[in-house]
Amino acid sequence: MTLTAQSLALIDREIAKYPADQKQSAVMAALRIAQVEKGWLATETIEFVADYLGMPAIAAYEAATFYNMYELEPTGRHKITVCTNLPCQLQGADTVADHLKEKLGIGFGETTPDGRFTLREGECFGSCGSGPLCLHNNHKMHTHLTPETIDTLLDELK
């Protein structure tokens, strides 16, 4: 098990931000980079990251399980995380979430049988003014969602 040279270069860039004896500080970024490459974090991936940073595997595993944007099981190719917190709820997030569930035929925490989509409920993204919101694969935010814009988005994600 290893990561691509490109991923390792990105991790090295993160490590350089911290004091030489504090490589563990890069664990959150390193796990994120590993997840982008692999799609999710298998135990062996987490162990590889821990080795690379010279930290105990259990400490990397603690980080991977504590922060909720890491995936510890395989997900669909496209993970859609919808914020349903109060400000978004007041602005129509429940309608958006119901539409997604109906359209994909799955509930929160589930993956479509063809492995294309995983749906998740998220907590506040800190962008409530543009709600309802969703994140695509953690990093791309879509704002001002309506059932119509959801349909367009889903069509684009093959």
């Binding site: 931000k17 911290y18 004091p19 504090q22 563990q24 500080s25 890069a26 664990v27 959150m28 970024a29 796990l31 994120r32 940073l53 930290m55 400490a59 603690e62 980080a63 504590f66 922060y67 909720n68 944007m69 890491y70 349903t84 917190n85 109060l86 400000p87 709820q89 007041l90 602005q91 998220g122 907590e123 506040c124 993204f125 800190g126 962008s127 409530c128 003014g129 543009s130 709600g131 994140l135 953690n138 990093h139 791309k140 935010m141």
Partner: protein, 428 residues
């Protein structure tokens, strides 16, 4: 008559320019001048702290602690590394102002952090950016590159012989990391569980070194204060509440968004700027300072000014300036159910009263919302709340209790109706 504010803005003035985030826009409008002056004149740190104290700048992340006083806690004669940390882990439901500073005025935050580093004797600073706004983590790193290339950051800044560098650190989905010691743990690559205090970060912070942690909007205000003087900043607001402030308005308004206005502006004016309540509905309730702030009924809110002291006097808090507006169609039980779920989900699990209590409160509110409430449930909720508040390492426990207590206090009959009739009073 429509309410507007046309006076000086501290943080989001760049939005009045075509290319708000660019270094060119920032520099063409006085950006980095404060830093240049400080480095050229070798302004003593004490003088900078005096100006910040005079400005009455209070922490914009939620606690409202005087920034100048916080800065004065850093040990002056400590030999060794010290750190400046910016808290952009903006995840308090209703709050979305720091993201706009990073997106639309990144260089003012950089300049503020560099001045903070100079004042506090740090060589390195970190900006902890909420994981869910990853695109801004990347854009801020680009702004750092621009600042380095232009000589405002890195080694020998502006030829002064002084070095200071900044880095972005990403969160990845944990509200608790907005708590400053949890944030430090997280930068150290650990679970974000708050530390017991004391010792405070000024003596034992990042990697055990003296550290000052300030909110994004706080740090972004520093260049303005140093350019125009502490008195000018104070004069923008009201005594003990200096400056303009970003208010994030969300919920049932026609124009949700950020509004930068002087502290002390009437809430009624702010509501009008946000286009008023949607669909001509009647205002029911407002959470004036982020989800952790106690809710206030419309009639109290409409009489209030938006500043730390006025809102505290009314029994809530200005917090981060996140104003969640709810109109007459809002079911207060359902609203509280969602907030209670949030705190249950985000409790770090370290302290038993919070770990167990937040789940207990959520389950009870959930059963009331779903027609299975029991007559004794409201007393039970308040009793659980009493056994959480003040009994935990950090403020998340208290934050979870605030909504429960205030929703029941101001809207008790709605909860009782739910319990008795197994359905909603407002039918939303």
């Amino acid at each position: 008559m429509s309410a507007t504010y046309t006076g000086p803005k501290v943080c989001l003035w760049t939005l009045d320019h075509p290319d708000p985030a660019s270094l060119e826009t920032y520099v063409a409008n006085g950006g980095y001048e404060a830093l240049k002056k400080i480095l050229a004149e070798k302004t003593p740190a004490e003088q900078i702290i005096e100006q910040v104290k005079l400005s009455a700048l209070r922490g914009r992340g939620g606690a409202g602690f005087p920034t100048g006083l916080k800065w004065s806690f850093m040990p002056r004669n400590f030999e060794g590394d010290k750190y400046v940390v910016c808290n952009s882990d903006e995840g308090e439901p209703g709050t979305f102002k720091d993201r706009d500073i990073i997106e639309f005025n990144p260089h003012q935050l950089i300049e503020g952090m560099v001045i903070a580093g100079y004042t506090l004797g740090a060589k390195v600073g970190y900006n902890y950016i909420h994981g869910e706004i990853f695109e801004l983590y990347e854009s801020w790193e680009k702004a750092l590159e621009e600042a380095r290339a232009a000589g405002y950051l890195g080694t020998n800044i502006l030829g002064s012989g002084w070095d200071f560098d900044l880095h972005a650190h990403q969160g990845y989905g944990a509200y608790i990391c907005g708590e400053e010691t949890a944030l430090l743990e997280s930068i150290e690559g650990k679970k974000g569980q708050p530390r017991f205090k004391p010792p405070f970060p000024a003596s034992y912070g990042l990697y055990g070194k003296p550290t000052t942690i300030n909110n994004t909007e706080t740090l972004a205000s520093i260049p303005w204060i140093m350019r125009h003087g502490g008195q000018a900043f104070l004069d923008l607001g009201k005594p003990n509440n200096g400056g303009t402030k970003l208010f994030s308005i969300s919920g049932h308004v026609n124009k949700p968004g950020n509004y930068e206005i002087p502290l002390g502006t009437p809430f009624a004016d702010l509501l009008e700027m946000a286009g008023g309540v949607r669909n001509g509905h009647k205002l029911k309730a407002v959470i004036p300072g982020g989800s952790s702030a106690p809710v206030l009924p419309a009639e109290i809110m409409m009489e209030l000014t938006m500043d730390f002291d006025a809102i505290a006097k009314a029994g809530s808090m200005l917090g981060s300036g996140a104003v969640i507006v709810m109109d007459e169609t809002t079911c207060m039980v359902k609203a509280l159910e969602r907030l209670s779920y949030f705190y249950y989900e985000e409790s770090c699990g370290q302290c038993t009263p919070c770990r167990e209590g937040t789940g207990w409160m959520y389950r009870v509110v959930h059963r009331i919302e779903h027609g299975q409430g029991r007559p004794e449930d409201l007393d039970l909720l308040l009793s659980v709340g009493k056994n959480i508040a003040g009994r935990t390492i950090c403020a998340l426990g208290d934050a979870a209790v605030g909504p429960v207590q205030s929703f029941i206090k101001h809207f008790r009959q709605e909860f009782e109706y739910h319990i008795e009739h197994k359905k909603c009073l407002v039918g939303s």
